[in-house]
Symmetry: D2
Subunit: 343 residues, 4 copies
């Protein structure tokens, strides 16, 4: 049994970690922390756990005395970095669910996140945590930067195209649509029911931080400089991201070629389901799957790809556990064998 800590229990990624780890056969949760709700029970904050996980929340100051094998940082960006710094000399492995160590450098971070970075040494250590692309380095990592929700679906959908230099890397378009939980647990104007329900809009056009994350990781993985146009939209649903990718092939191609390409990259991946129909977010709800449908339109000459993920699972806590499994030498899929909740 591995001992695990969850730092930050009051958001949705924290509660999802508890939900998923509860059934993990080789892990026990040794500590769950919240500075705001220290002393309260988890189920006081997240009532669905009542009678199931009623554990008392501790302060993160107790982490070192508990000395877990690995901690998840389920904290906002700008906060995570201080914990990573604090734990730098310890043997505790870290999966950071924030955006603090996903980018390439302090400069890039500060330009897109508009705040100073307190632990720039972390950028070199951090491994970007998409197992299908970076499995080998994740296994050896001390610090994994768990990917953003949008980047996960976007990068995995486009990676084969960029890696094989099949498409013009300067004209990649990602039109994404996310459920409301992506905006977090806090009550804000943007999460007021009557502003979301029966509504739909784009937001963060040109400026969303996940733009640079997608662009840097695709450039790194594809060993090509890419330019990414990323447009998020807000769906009136709780969970799920559908991303529609548009790209221009720079050589002759057929649908068969495209299918082969995705098969080569992903057909052995346990959490990727290649599809020949349009992915639906309800088909992956509550799970770690990525459903992908690549498509070539002979009439227009465009390549498209559609990907569907659960933003809280594959886009956050599920992928974090997949990374933990690799980092601690366990089977990658442990604890993540879930059937989507549909209907």
């Amino acid at each position: 049994m591995h001992k695990i800590g969850i730092i930050g229990a009051t958001g949705y990624t924290g509660s999802e970690l508890v939900r998923l780890l509860h059934h993990h056969p080789e892990v026990e949760i040794s500590i769950i922390t919240s500075e705001t709700y220290e002393g309260k029970r988890l189920s006081d904050i997240h009532p669905q756990f009542e009678g199931i996980v009623d554990v008392t929340l501790k302060s993160a100051k107790q982490i070192k005395e508990v000395n877990p094998d690995l901690v998840f940082l389920a904290l906002p960006h700008g906060v995570s970095m201080d914990y990573v710094k604090e734990l730098a000399g310890e043997s505790i492995k870290i999966v950071d669910l924030s955006g603090d160590f996903r980018l390439s450098s302090k400069n890039v971070y500060e330009a897109w996140y508009d705040k100073p970075h307190s632990y720039p040494e972390g950028f070199a250590q951090a491994v970007y945590g998409i197992p299908e692309l970076f499995r080998k380095t994740i296994k050896k990592a001390k610090l994994v930067a768990n990917p953003g929700c949008f980047p996960t679906g976007a990068i995995v959908a486009a990676a084969p195209l960029v890696k094989e230099k099949l498409v013009d890397p300067k004209h990649l378009i990602f039109d994404s649509k996310t459920g409301v939980t992506g905006a977090g647990v806090k009550a804000k104007v943007v999460t007021h029911y009557s502003n979301v329900n029966e509504n739909f809009k784009a937001y963060g056009v040109k400026t969303h931080r996940h733009t640079i994350e997608i662009q840097e990781i695709l450039s790194q993985y594809g060993e090509t400089e890419t330019t990414v146009q990323f447009t998020p939209h807000l769906l009136p649903v709780d969970r799920g991201i559908l991303t529609s990718v548009y790209a221009r092939p720079n050589k002759q191609i057929t649908q068969g070629d495209l299918n082969n390409l995705y098969d080569q990259h992903y057909s052995n991946e346990p959490f990727i389901r290649l599809s020949t129909t349009n992915p639906e977010i309800k088909n992956i709800r509550g799970t770690n799957y990525i459903d992908i449908f690549p498509l070539f339109d002979e009439r227009t000459g465009n390549i498209m790809a559609f990907s569907a993920i659960d933003n809280l699972v594959r886009g956050a806590s599920g992928q974090a556990i997949q990374n933990m499994n690799l980092m601690l030498g366990m089977d990658e899929g442990l604890g993540l064998d879930i059937i989507p909740l549909r209907p």
Copy 2:
């Protein structure tokens, strides 16, 4: 390992049985049937199972050769009865999820279901499957009539009041609100998105078949003749039933008395969570829990009770598995240890 069959895989209760049994440690699904889709894969009908449960659907004619220990009949009422008749001489145990054997007699059935009953012998054999009320007889049953979704939440909420003769049995009011999946998988005017979304209404007032089911079971369990007013309403959600019960005490009572009463009945029950706040359907989503909040209003003199269940799990397939566990001598909660999917 017990061998299990699922008769009727194309509805929601069928797919929920597969979802839940997939993780059951002591059961294997030996056959899943559909007369309409024989030869197709389960995931052709329910795409969320793609790559997880792709088993081929068989005809129910093959049941006897497979010879499972128990079958679930996930069939419409009026169809189930023929299968029960057919399997009457076999050693195969049956959990019938339809309404065909829940009532007391052929006469009552035909009056409320407005169709002839082909196997009236079954009424005497069938045990009504709410484990918290009828656990002992369920353990020995060959045929369990799995309760209706509304009756489950209504009966469990009111049973202590009736059993202890605390309330006027002639004036019981159940105001229930259900998610759309209660109307089944078929496309109908009533399930058209734009008839449900942003809408709310009562239906089946005075005539809903679950009225007599609630009334008969409460009368039987409480050993008192009851009169039940039951009003279902249709909620714009997928899953969940909230029932608000109104009753008149026929003796002096306090909130403390009420709490004690419910504690005595239910505090040791693994799937009942007694609450002191208003139950929410999202807190039990995807699970077998019943959340109950009993309440006495000193000002008006009324007793109220609120119960929340997931209509597809506790109101159908989850309770069916709980019954199966009892009938096959396993731990009652096996396979049902699930954390609600919230948000």
Copy 3:
């Protein structure tokens, strides 16, 4: 043309007043106020008005110099009372949409609203604004207390029963379900999308302030002391209230008698639609209608009635305009001839 002021433009009732009055043929909006957003345009706060109603918001201090014929107070309770006091000596008529003058006395108010009342003289002046019940006094009123959203649907549905002494006045049950806009425009935990969506629960059981409002008005109108059990629930929709009423007849009755009773009371009312099917909130969306379906269940001996209203229109701003029309001597229905927005 009558000159009208709207005090408090930032909430939903304020924006609904503007939406509805925009088409009123005999009224012009002379001033719209907001202390918080003074100097901003209405469409900065409510973007749907962009290019349609872009008027600049003023301070309420300018009301007297504008000197309108009538003002609507679209303010929170506890705030309205000060404006009523301030305008006491003026000739400006007032429709107060808050709860400050709906109850019978300072004592009752303070007991249920848990705050001191600064203008108790107003209770005697204020006329309760349900035109179908109190039309004559409304016409002569200087101050109308516009009814609460729940009380409107509840009282109109039950008034004929109480007035005719047909039912036991001590055992009236109102089980109501409301859309989220009833909770106001502010971002709160209770209005967070993911706490409402796919969810349903009761709230304010035993203690909701509309309980006493329903009880006092039914007692007054029916000239009988009533006891009201009122249970609100929160629906995942924007607008609409469905109320289910349960009552015990205290004499022999038939469905025909019931129909006659409601016909006598309401068949000439332009905004009441008596129905013989279950009212749906989508059938009255955006309008001032009340759909009512009274029902007698011979089997149980209970009388039921279902009513549907739009909480922002008939439950607030539409009824306020209906009252204004009466107070200023216009046709009662002016500006309220709207077809429901369905789908």
Copy 4:
């Protein structure tokens, strides 16, 4: 007063025509037809009209004897063409809401609609009914082909770019998201509540009929051959379409240039609202407005534009009335002065 007929009253476009025309000051509805429901009242089919518009439905065979000035064909494609043929020799003007006369020729129609066309003569007569682009010819038209819902929002958003030859016409991408009413009133698998709610997916990728409509009209209006990639997605809302347009400029450009361009084209248009924030479908709900936000991303070099319409109003019945107003010599905006229903 102009006399108007509505052929086909049972769908959503039919009921929207009635809703909107009810307040039109210079038009009276002389006949509403339904072959299926002849003899029933409109409010039997669309219950929201109860007590407001209860008119009896007639057969379309009575059109000629009523002899209206103009008829709306609110019929499925493949059906409309026969009515147009039938009325060819009459003086009755026609606004056809189906897709039967929107394309350039019988050949193109049959290739994309996969059915024979019975009245190819109509293609030459029909004027495509986007008033902002084709106002002059609409005024003189006998037959207007009312645009598809998606094409309306897509074409109006991109027309200035194509007209001014500012962008590469071969690489136009339209990523659209529509509410469920676009799929019509019929109960189908795709409109089942539980297949739409909490779900999102693309559909009709590469093959949707609106693709060729957008492409042909943009080519015609821009006098350039265009290639259009159009991807519709299904939103869990009743009404509204948001379209995100992506294009490559073929010359140097700034945001200021873009703003000027759209101002020149649209600043005098009563139903186009140019925006500098992200359009939201709830801000145009129930109305004839098109909200447009054009945007240049200096970092990527892409032009984007976002447009929001109500698919049933501006995407169908509202635009049909705007066309009627022009065809009958009335003010273009008559009957369409509506404030969006938000919240």
